[in-house]
């Protein structure tokens, strides 16, 4: 999947499906399961319809009629600070992770 056509073209994955949506919505809009399904069905077509390396399937969806989001997307720096400690969405997550025994976290597959 891709939301950034020029970045994908630079990286050159074997095949890609481009959805022209704002970043953070690579596979759809929130709580719109029928739209999410339609997007993925179209995207998965890329596995069979693309015939050579580096091709991109453009998916037939638009975020909005006026596409006003395109003028402001990434035009300013909206990143948050790059903290070096785990950044939990909730305090409850932090507590649960601290209480989990190590073997219950085989997923922690990288350096901590």
């Amino acid at each position: 999947m891709s939301s950034a056509l020029d970045i994908t073209a630079a990286v050159k994955p074997p095949r890609a499906a481009f959805l022209d949506y704002p970043l953070g919505h690579t596979t759809g809009k929130p709580h719109e399961p029928e739209l999410q399904r339609a997007i993925l069905v179209e995207a998965l077509e890329a596995f069979t319809s693309l015939t050579g390396p580096g091709q991109v399937r453009h998916l037939p969806f638009r975020w909005s009629e006026d596409e006003a989001w395109k003028r402001s997307s990434m035009a300013t720096d909206t990143r948050t600070a790059r903290h070096g400690t785990p950044q939990y969405q909730t305090d409850e997550d932090r507590r649960r992770a601290a209480e989990a025994p190590p073997e219950a976290c085989p997923a922690c597959a990288g350096p901590r």
Partner: protein
């Protein structure tokens, strides 16, 4: 309206902030190619997503070139999914993880027979890693090994 050209736009944004030019990854080699050898309806699909998704109870991602990944069991309750990422607006992903991690969508497509099955494991990481070398030499090979061990036929990569 044409797609946003992110590379020049981000280059300009960073330049205004006085940052050194960002070194975009530009592949000069053509990518490898593997045609699908059987119908998608018979394929096991693996899901890999870079939006910083973790399940409550797992260690969250940090934001300094974190090259770790999480194994998300694909029978996970969607309400247990969280995000930790510094470089995109997570508001919608936190309302509905399916916008960056299409777990319910893929479970449905498996039930419907559009795909053969969803692999038992999905893999997630926090894609704001500014060292392409660490991704190429460390993270990507570990993810590839996991996908091969899971015997997936196709992998769906979902960046943000």
């Amino acid at each position: 309206m044409d797609p946003v050209e992110y590379i020049p736009r981000i280059r300009d944004t960073y330049a205004r902030l006085g940052y050194p030019p960002y070194q975009w990854v530009v592949s000069t080699e053509p990518p490898p190619w593997q045609p699908l050898e059987k119908p998608l309806a018979e394929c096991r699909l693996g899901l890999v997503a870079s939006g910083g998704i973790y399940a409550s109870g797992q260690v969250a991602f940090h934001f300094k070139d974190d090259t770790s990944f999480r194994v998300i069991h694909t029978d996970v309750r969607t309400a247990e999914l969280r995000t930790a990422h510094f470089a995109y607006d997570q508001a919608d992903a936190r309302r509905d993880p399916n916008v960056v991690f299409p777990i319910d969508t893929l479970r449905r497509l498996a039930r419907e027979g559009v795909i053969g099955e969803l692999s038992r494991h999905a893999y997630t990481f926090m894609g704001g890693i500014y060292s392409a070398r660490r991704v190429t030499e460390d993270l990507a090979p570990r993810l590839t090994a996991r996908l091969l061990a899971d015997a997936v036929d196709v992998a769906l990569l979902v960046p943000v």
